[in-house]
Symmetry: C2
Subunit: 436 residues, 2 copies
């Protein structure tokens, strides 16, 4: 299939930098796969899924090296758990790849199309971005997910994982490349960025013109570095200082359930709630219930004076400590929550606008007017009305897969699926049209 399409020649000699060499190869591969229809891309994805299962033993062995090294380094068990690949997990990853194969192909979709008064036909059509760079931490499943999503959307991908997962990532990329090549597509569409040093990340960030977009996934420090230093366009992802606001009129039981789900369903993720704001008119009724439920869930409450006062008056069993300004901006990712009382919905909105990372904010209210006002005024990727913050997720939104959650306003905002891995081009067709 690939030989039907011309691909740009590689420059000769290639640049000395292994990172730039990889980028050149990715660009050539991207030009080859960009015009492909769906079938050859899906065939490559199914080949990857099969290969992951056929070669599971190789992958588990390579992963065991990383896990042993992590143990020797005294790595936290939660991190080791995310790093570990088992037969079951690999089967689940392979199934995810098959699901991506089953998703509609975004490439070729006509977003807008019309005929101008002069008869010229205008079509705006989705096309791949080109070369996508992903910088991520020690989760080898991201290696496979990102490769599958980029291939499906006609992009080449440069993967820059954590050095703590290097053996796993090398093996996974070897398996993927073999499968891609075996399916007749250019293996260079999926590459690990060579080099484990920070310099290789720096080179990637400066490969403007070769790499079309960088998506950093991971801790806030990594994301800030990439955002500030990259000359390649970046999509900022993931930091989530999410808020739950309980309005003056709210179903108390619903509010408790949404609060606990938002905070404690899974604390280490970006769509977990980190701050609770309560309208003063409902504080006396709601806070005792909320504090008891938070205590049951093992959550420490970093409270403003008004929340502290309620806790003391009630003799709450909750662990309550005074909140500082720092608490309002902290993404705990732990069994902690900041909590405060506000005088109005507008004050809640002002607090959120000041401190939020712009990920997800929820309101619990029975008032249609309050719901409408909150959704109008809050400017975050997702505003949830009477629903948990935990729904901000590509899988939950029905995208079938997710490459990350954009917290920026340009290009994509919120969970990013396949369409967010595309750009568009205009095709204008006439029969000799010139401008008068």
């Amino acid at each position: 299939m690939s030989t039907e399409f011309p691909s740009p020649d590689l420059p000769s000699p290639l640049p000395k930098s292994p990172v730039l060499q990889a980028a050149y190869r990715a660009k050539a591969a991207a030009a080859t796969i960009a015009p492909l229809p769906r079938t050859p891309k899906d065939e490559a994805l199914l080949a990857i899924a099969d290969a992951l299962q056929v070669r599971t033993r190789e992958i588990v062995e390579a992963n065991a090296e990383d896990v042993a090294q992590a143990r020797a380094n005294g790595t936290d068990e939660a991190v080791i758990d995310r790093l570990t690949l088992t037969r079951e997990r690999i089967a689940a990853i392979a199934d995810d790849v098959r699901k991506v194969a089953g998703l509609p192909d975004p490439v070729g979709e006509v977003i807008r199309g019309y005929t101008l008064p002069n008869g010229l036909d205008v079509r705006q059509v989705r096309v791949p971005l080109g070369v996508v760079g992903i910088i991520y931490e020690a989760r080898p499943n991201v290696t496979v997910d990102a490769a599958a999503l980029c291939l499906k959307s006609g992009n080449a991908v440069l993967l820059r994982g954590s050095s703590s997962a290097i053996a796993s990532n090398r093996k996974l990329v070897e398996v993927i490349r073999d499968a891609v090549g075996g399916a007749g597509l250019p293996a260079d569409a999926v590459q690990l960025v060579p080099g484990e040093s920070r310099e290789s990340v720096q080179e990637l960030m400066r490969a403007r013109g070769m790499v079309d977009v960088l998506i950093p996934r991971g801790g806030a420090g990594l994301i800030r570095t990439v955002v500030e230093q990259s000359t390649v366009p970046v999509i900022e992802t993931g930091t989530g200082n999410c808020h739950v606001y309980v309005d003056a009129e709210a179903d108390l039981a619903m509010a408790v359930e949404i609060l606990i789900n938002s905070k404690a369903h899974r604390v280490s993720v970006c769509n977990a709630a980190e701050t609770l704001l309560v309208h003063k008119d409902i504080a006396d009724a709601f806070l005792p219930l909320a504090l008891a439920a938070l205590a049951d869930a093992g959550v420490t409450v970093h409270a403003d004076p008004r929340v502290q006062a309620v806790a003391e008056r009630e003799g709450s069993k909750a662990v309550v400590v005074p909140a500082t300004a720092e608490d309002w901006e902290t993404e705990y990712l732990s069994y902690d929550i900041a909590a405060g009382v506000v005088d109005s919905l507008e004050d809640a909105v002002a607090h959120i606008r000041l401190w939020t990372s712009g990920h997800t904010e929820a309101i619990v209210t029975t008032s249609q007017a309050a719901a409408r006002r909150f959704t109008q005024l809050v400017d975050s990727t997702t505003v949830a009305v009477n629903a948990s913050t935990r729904f901000t997720d590509g899988g939950q939104f029905g995208f079938g897969a997710e490459i990350g959650i954009s917290t920026q306003k340009l290009h994509a905002r919120g969970p990013m699926g396949l369409p967010e891995l595309t750009s568009t081009k205009y095709i204008v067709t006439g029969d000799g049209h010139i401008r008068r």
Copy 2:
């Protein structure tokens, strides 16, 4: 109207930098106008249009200062012409503002909406970007256009024009702010970036978190500087090394007409053609006609050896000089064109991919297969089939207005109208939904 909506408090004390002060004020104004419906925004736009005409004399007088200064500096007459404002031109600018008022409001448009299997309603809704920074050269009409488009799309705008138009821009922004304030919207939604030094541009480029996007409009040097140095997300615009490719099978008269229109209809614009590529099978028939027409249009041809050979053999009256590698990448913006013969459509595509700035490429062909292949393989903002490159333009595409032409792949590609000045947010609505 504006007092209905809370706006974030300005920090106290304000930062010392006048540029950052302006950015803070813009951010506060943006929060106020973002949730506004269409009517108050349109009323402000109509007030601006009326004020431009009522206060025409003031504007012409201020502009006369700039023009006098430009003459004293020995500025090129073409530049002075673009700088000059007359009563007629101001009336035309005011009419453009009225046209923007008549365009549909992109804010609030539901891009996608569906109900999940669990009953949660998901809506993806257009919202303003926030604060838009525009850096541009000596065209005072851009001041008004940009302000109108940003206001209509609910954004605040920071305008950084050329120092050579400073008196005109100050007066125009004064007139606009008076009208905006008079219509009950915050005047700080439209501000001139204080300071004429390069440092003020540097500050603007580092105002990440305050400014949501920077759009540089102007020369290639300006755009490159902003793209490379800004930590604020940038939309790259404008450079156009556009190609016209005449395929093996083409209507010769149509090809000549499209070539001449693409090259010479207006040479100083980004959608003018800069390179002609001709398939070898049609070169002997087409090139004599093309060279004669280019000569008539006063265009100098920078020719590869095969085009030179035809010119010599025919004794063409065209001015033909040898092309160097530099010619293939030059955006002349003058009565010059590079011209070469290619062996195949694939070679034309490879040439274009290597040298293009990715703006607009045209194919002239009678072959449906060639048209399809060219549009699939060429990766530029716009691919024109049997039409002039000159159609890549927001006005021509029917957008009603244009803030620039993006030549990057992220966020927007090609002519940018009102929807391209927006982001989106998700609104998810349940009745107590939590994640299981």
